[in-house]
Symmetry: C2
Subunit: 164 residues, 2 copies
DNA sequence: CATGATTCAGTTGTGCGCAATTGAATTGTG
DNA sequence: CACAATTCAATTGCGCACAACTGAATCATG
């Protein structure tokens, strides 16, 4: 009833929504800002940002089924299927039913897709320059974000438990 | 020509794509993981994550035109117009052409939209708990992400200059 | 006052992200 | 071998993000 509440150590209840807005919004904004810079750089490669992520995996690990691509990128077939079709239409990848398991679809780079890697090599350096961050800062941020992702994924599993 | 290049202080050219993949992917993944947890918590409020961001702004700053909402959230009308229509259909906001400037549309909370704030107050604390981060860590991450966003926005402007 | 530039919200089209479903192929069990 | 459960990719539906465009209202200039 009184207004003489001393400045508490913990934020006032009314402040929580503001604080929260800043936290979640910062991540949201950073993600889109990052996306924006990539969009510009990747336009000349004819790739979108998620398509670039797929190509990174293929360049690093080579041919693999859609399932494994999705596991590495945390994307399901609802996102990957149309994306891979567009990459195939662009002539960068080839999709083929596995001989061993007809349920599985193997994705592999075409010669053109493999060749694109050389042009992509300059992208990371330009992104680094755009951030103005040092290698150490980038590494630290990556570690923090990975820890955040792990914690959030764990929490999501505990919150969503489909009972049973 | 030779393969006897000594281990350089800077990463090998071949490593750049891998490093880059980790950096951009970490942010991408963290953003989606965050989104996933919010999705669960906000479902009981009947809001999506971007809709929640809009409500946060309205709760904090009150009635304002679409233009200002977009400036605060870095979203354009292509995103906001349909989003606000859905919030209006849900009975949470009201849209009305400004009397002073017929081009502008004022967005204000309905009583129902204002009342929803009370139920939203518990969301930030639950998100905090899900991250496992301390207030200090959250604040530090926010600062880093804001610095990153500012730098990336600046770089995007310099890279995209539509000449003029 | 007239006209040309600017400022708005809205629409369209493309692509990503995710939940839910479908249907075929495979595996496990009796 | 037969049948049920599981594992895949693909599809559908909805919402967000963004570029490009439309059209109305406003402002600036002469």
């Amino acid at each position: 009833m009184t207004t003489e509440v001393p400045p508490a150590a913990a934020p006032d209840e009314e402040d929580w929504l503001r604080l929260d807005g800043q936290v979640c919004f910062s991540l949201h904004a950073a993600s889109r800002a990052f996306n924006g810079v990539y969009r510009v750089l990747l336009k000349e490669l004819g790739l979108t940002y998620p398509q670039y992520l797929v190509m990174l995996v293929l360049w690093e690990h080579g041919e693999q089924p859609v399932k494994r691509l999705g596991a590495r990128l945390r994307l399901d077939s609802g996102t990957l299927s149309p994306l891979l079709k567009r990459l195939e239409a662009a002539g960068l990848v080839h999709r083929e039913r596995s001989a061993h398991d007809e349920r599985s679809v193997e994705v592999r780079l075409t010669d053109e897709g493999t060749a694109l890697r050389a042009r992509a090599l300059q992208v990371p350096r330009r992104i680094m320059a755009a951030t103005g961050f040092t290698l150490e800062e980038i590494a630290a941020l990556r570690t923090t974000l990975n820890r955040l992702t792990t914690a959030l994924d764990k929490a999501a599993l505990e919150t969503t438990p489909a009972c049973d």
